[in-house]
Amino acid sequence: MMDKTDWKLLKEIADLEKTPQGAYNIRRNGQLDSRSTTANIDITTKTGGKSGIDIRVKPGTKKESIHIPVIIQATGFTELVYNDFFIGEDCDVDIVAGCGIHNTGCETAQHDGLHTFYIGKNSKVRYVERHYGEGEGEGKRIFNPQTVVYLEEGASIQMETTQIRGVDSTKRDTKIVVGKDAEAVITEKLLTHGSQTAQSDMEIVLDGAGASGRVISRSVAQGQSKQVFYPKMTGNAACFGHVQCDSIIMDQAQVSSIPAIAANHVDAQLIHEAAIGRIAGDQLLKLMTLGLTEEEAEEKILDGFLQ
């Protein structure tokens, strides 16, 4: 049975206040809590020793959503989950994933998820993934997500990942192979504080003619936290790629942003921009002249930046 804390976690990671519409699979402390499928979307438990699910979306499925949240409330619980998504041709679907950990104990709670997407011709996928940690315990809350996406001709993915506070350590690996006329857009938002660490490695391979890729990464590092970003865009055809990394650094935090672009084709157009800086003094002053205190102004600036 789901309790209040479970629902709070679901609200944080998937904006759910009740059982979602459409297809869903809720995983709680390593077990299936509940599942629903539709005429067009099937979800099956993996067999053969691997933990996780297969999600199959029939060709032509439009305007449907799939929620696959994971919640963990057990201290000392760690898991490795494999989820595979097979999206047929000409689909348009929203997938909401994410994991929330409520750790009140003193042992580590960890969720490592490996998601692989096979997105068929001309299909559009919006993939939202939020990570959230809470709990008074000293036990660590750790996430290590890996996402691999294969985009067929004309397909697109809009991937939005968010991790705001509460996660002690994360190492994220994302790889997207973009086919002919396909498009990948990744929006990454991250806020670390205390002594948290976060590393995000990304590789976008623009493989087909007319492929395009865009990475927008925004992060805030507070306290003594450390962040490292390695976004890499490779152009193997006539393609367009843009990597933009912006970080706000505060207190004694450390941020490294190491974007890379590699062109293996004369018509590959690749751009990267990276910036790290503190909150500008004139931004704080401006908001204070509107009646905000310095603390309120700082909060507004950070909220806006990560919006």
Partner: protein, 247 residues
């Protein structure tokens, strides 16, 4: 009523000596007046305006607004008291949208699109094109400046300070802006303190204050001061009119 008494702002020069940015400035500005501060670049106009908003802490002297001494008050405190300040070079914000800034300025969690649009229209911006845009580097200097002025309009404060509102604004928007200042002034609900070099703005003034080398050199009704300013500009310059034009 704004009363500035014996205001000084000193900074250290590279040789370790004192440099006066504001030197014993005293000024009294009546309720609901439109006063234009003008004078040569580097004369201390912006520093004076910033001192009123609390953005610069004066070395000595006092600032009194509606009978309350605000010299030691924080920027936030002054803002909440009804003082607002339009920056000469407003900052940009990655992620904050025009409507977010207008909401903050109005002191409300949300603002009806129609109301937000009114403020933008008053500064010559086509509201629907801008309301959801981020106030970031994608906007031109003139656009950011007009959004800045719109935030001051949204505050509906008792003392509105504008620092060179005309800077970077195209002629068409500028005409709209002068109309807006005129309309605010006509209501007689706020005191306007405008730093400007623009004849059309100076022409709106009840009073003109001329500041040079950190001092008030002239202060009086527009009719009295404006002719004196014109006499000092290039068209009234005896050298430019005489010697420099000789073959």
């Amino acid at each position: 009523m704004l009363e500035i008494k014996n205001l000084n702002y000193q900074v250290s020069d590279p040789s370790g000596g004192g440099l006066g940015i504001l030197n014993d400035v005293s000024l009294s500005i009546g309720e609901n007046k439109l006063v234009v501060i003008t004078g040569p670049n580097g004369g201390g106009k912006t520093t004076l305006a910033k001192a009123v908003m609390g953005l610069v802490a004066p070395t000595s002297g006092s600032i009194v607004w509606n009978g309350q001494d605000i010299t030691q008050m924080s920027i936030t405190g002054r803002a909440r008291l009804g003082i607002s300040y339009g920056f000469q070079q407003p900052p940009r914000f990655k992620g904050l949208r025009v409507k977010d800034l207008l909401c903050l300025a109005a002191g409300r969690d949300s603002l009806a699109t129609e109301e937000a649009c009114q403020y933008l229209t008053k500064v010559g911006l086509c509201a629907y094109d801008y309301i959801d845009r981020e106030v970031d580097a994608s906007l031109s200097g003139g656009e950011v400046k007009r959004i800045e002025i719109a935030t001051i309009l949204a505050r509906k404060s008792g003392l509105m300070i504008f620092d060179e509102p005309e800077a970077g604004i195209d002629l068409w928007s500028f005409a709209k802006l002068t109309e807006t200042f005129q309309a605010i002034h006509a209501k007689r609900e706020a005191t306007l303190l405008i730093i400007s070099h623009q004849e059309r703005i100076i022409n709106l003034a009840d009073e003109i204050v001329m500041i040079e080398e950190g001092k008030v050199v002239r202060h009086g009704p527009k009719e009295e001061i404006f002719p004196l300013i014109l006499a000092k500009t290039s068209s009234g310059c005896t050298y430019l009119n005489g010697e420099a034009n000789k073959e």
